[in-house]
Structures are given as C-alpha cells and as structure tokens.
C-alpha cells in the first residue's frame, strides 16, 4: 500500500517527465501520436482542475452562511449569483448566442460579468495615480533614474507627449527596445533556468510539494 501511496506517484512523474522531454527530440509517427493523445487528455483533465479550483470558494461561503458570520448576506448574494448563472447557463446549453440571438446566459455575461470585471480593474487607475503622488519620490539616485524613465515612457506613449516633446517618442522606443529589452531578457533567461531546474527536480523526485499533504 505504501508503494501505491508514496512511490507510485513519484514513479509516474519520473516516467512521464522523461518520456515527454525525450519526445521533443523523437519525431517518429508513434511518438507524435502519443503526444497528440496525451495533450488531448490534458485538455480534459484541465477541466477537472477547474472544478477543484471553484469548490473551495463554495465551501468558504457555505460556512459563512451556515454560521451567519458577519457579512453572510453578501455570501448569499454570491451564491444566488452563482446558482442563477448556472441554472440559466445550463438551460441555454452554455451558449451566449444561439442563431444570432442573445440568450439569457449571454445577457448575464454581457451586462453583468463584463462590466463588473471591467470596472473592478478600472478603479485601479485611481489608485495608481494616488500611489504615484504619494510614493513616487526621488529618494535616491536609483529612484531618480526609475522616475525619469517612467516619465519619459509616459510622455512618449501618448500623442500629446510626442507633440509637446517630439524627442520623447524616439527616446521611449530606445528605452523599450534596448534598455528594457536587455533587462527583460536577463530576467527571462533567469526565470527559464529556474523553471527548467524546478522541472528536473520534480521529475527526479527532489521536489515533491505538488503531491500535497493528506494521509499517507
């Protein structure tokens, strides 16, 4: 039983990891067929992962409602929104539009979800402006460099800035294409090396946190 619980998952990770890393270099039809099938499987398994993601949310708010914790009424709104959307969505076969006509599910999407999500992120515009005013100060030479680069890019990426200071557009291009690109490239190389190292650690069973807790 210990083999099934402990060694088998590590063995599966090791074998699948090695096989699919090697597959990249073996363009044999059988190898390609295997890649086709398994990536198809991953699509389906990805759907189950989504279910896992949302169930914890179900649980948290169900507990809030059951215990009538402060703000439980909002959890009730959340549940009502969710169940209402599910019922209407399944009734409309999960389609926002059928035969060129908007369904009730499409209505919820277009007039509730889209504006709500859009506005949630739009209010960040106000907070970024406030944060810029409060904390964007040239406290050191490095901070002054950051400040100058930000001002140049903000100027050079809008028509008014380019009109007032014609050089700002070209300067912004240079900053983005050369200075910014070099830093982003170094970060990309660094992150990629880290990702490859982590993947190798996972394949060889050194990194096991993805297996989570639970009884052995």
């Amino acid at each position: 039983m210990i083999f099934l619980k402990r060694q088998l998952p590590l063995l599966i990770t090791f074998v699948t990891g090695i096989v699919f890393a090697a597959q990249y270099y073996v363009p044999h039809p059988a190898s390609e067929e295997m890649l086709t099938s398994v990536t198809k499987w991953l699509q389906i398994i990805g759907g189950f992962a989504l279910i896992l993601g949302v169930t914890s949310l179900f649980h948290i708010h169900a507990v809030k409602i059951r215990r009538k914790e402060p703000g439980w009424g909002y959890s009730f709104v959340l549940y009502a929104g969710m169940l209402g959307t599910i019922v209407i969505g399944l009734w409309g076969n999960g389609k926002e539009v059928t035969n060129g006509t908007m369904t009730a599910f499409g209505w919820i999407y277009n007039f509730m979800m889209v504006p709500l999500q859009g506005t949630m992120f739009a209010i960040l515009a106000f907070f970024i402006a406030s944060a810029a005013y409060r904390s964007f100060r040239a406290r050191s030479r490095e901070a002054a460099v950051l400040l100058a680069a930000a001002i140049i890019v903000m100027t050079g990426r809008v028509p008014l800035g380019e009109y007032l200071i014609p050089l700002s557009g070209d300067l912004t291009q240079w900053i983005l294409n050369v200075l910014n690109a070099s830093v982003r490239r170094a970060i990309l190389i660094g992150i990629s090396l880290g990702a490859v190292a982590l993947s190798l650690k996972i394949i060889f069973g050194i990194e096991r946190s993805y297996l989570g807790g639970g009884k052995e």
Partner: protein, 279 residues
Amino acid sequence: MSFAERMLQIDRRIIFLVIGLCTLIPLFYPVGLAIKVGPEVRGVYNYIESLPEGSVFLLSLDFDPASKPELYPQAVALLRHAFKKNLRVIGMTLWLPGTGMANEVITRVAEEMGKEAGKDYVFLGWSPGGSSVIINMGQDLYKAFPTDYNNQPTKDLAVLKDVKTLRDVSYVVSLAAGSTGIESWYVFGKDKYKFELGGGCTGVIAPGLYPLLRSGQINGLIGGLRGAAEYEVLIGQKGRAVAGMDAQSATHVAIIILVMLCNTFYLMLRKGQRRAGQA
C-alpha cells in the same frame, strides 16, 4: 504642519477627482492629436498585408473582460484588416472568461464585413489546458476542437479545408493579457510548428515581450490601447482606440504633473528638515 507636508497628505479623493475629470473631459471634447505609428505595430500590419487571399489567419483572443478596453479594439482592427484581405479567419480563446466576448467580436466584425460563418471564418471557442491545447492543435486541429463554438464538426467546415494542424496556418496573432498567450503560443506552438507569430497585448505585459520582439520570435507587437489606435490609423478605420487617445494623453500628463508636484513638495520638506537640523 508645513505647506509641503499638508500638500503631501491631501485627501486621495482629490486625486481621484482630477483623474476622473482628465478622463471625462477629453472624451466629451476630443482634440484628435496625430498618432504616430511605431515599427512594432507596423510589423503585424505589414505581414497581414503581405498574405495572399485565402491564407489562414488564426486570432487567439487570450484575455478576459478585465482587459476589454485595451484588447477588444485591437481585435476589431485586426479582424477588419484580415476580412478586408479576404483571409480565412480562425478565432479562439485560451481564457475561459473571454469566450462570450471573443465570439461576439468575431461575429460582429464578420457581419459588418459581409462574411459567412463556416465559409469565411470560424470561432472555435475555448478549451481548457492552455499550453496543451496549443500542442494538440499543432498535432491535430480537428482533435483539439472536434466541434466549433456552435457545435458544428470542424472537419466539415469549408474555412478549415486543408487546415489539419497549426503547420497549415499562415499567421497566428495572440491578443494576450497574461503569460497564457503570446509566450505560450511561441513556446508550445511556433517553436515546433513553424508558423509566423505576432502579438497584441495589454500595456502591463508589453515591456516583458520586447525580448521576443528583438529576437524575431514574434514579428510585431501591438501594445495596449495606444497600439490599437496605431492599428486603426493603419487600416484607416478610426474606432474606440483613437477616440480614447486624447483621454490617455490627458491622464498621463496629469500623472506626470502629480509626480512632479509630489517631488517638489518632498524636496521642500527635506530642505526644511535640513534647515531645522542645522538650527
């Protein structure tokens, strides 16, 4: 409390009001300043322009409603261009919350350009798995999407005739709001299946994509609302992006002024503190 200190601690709602007004006023009274087109956006435009009629163009709308103001105008401009060039258009998304929006934009622009579903364009919809969807499409497009968004078998669609894998696609453009987008399309798609790749993205992720642009891994990049405005200028059909550019200018200038004021007050405060320290 000194003047500088008072100014540095003003109610943040005053700043909110300034930003709100700077956005609203230009939307009501637009000036229409000229928009210069950069080489990044021109890269995407020129490639679509060079494609012969009937070439397969795949537009992956990898964003959700949170990024709609930036990426929706890009999608409209790109689709108008592709339909005008009589390309065969395949639409899809790797982002579940963006499915309805992606379907809406493709259908709307296709109707506007007099195109027919299944013959001139198809919307494949969303599929879970991100990178594995791309690989699966590279291996067998009909297997990755057995049916389109309207449950029509993809094998029977005229628009997908002879498009068995991503190798048969002439140009892919991913409009991305995160890493499941342009980067994924390169790593799991172009790297092996060798199609040409372009990108459109939100302003937040744009600077991070310049290394791919420089190395030629993507042949163009439409960055944020400004990028969309540049594309609208190139196709000669001004839309929401161009209309928003004056407000964009005003808010940027407002923030630059706020930052300068903040630093002026900060320097005044520091000077005052130094003087007090010497006394």
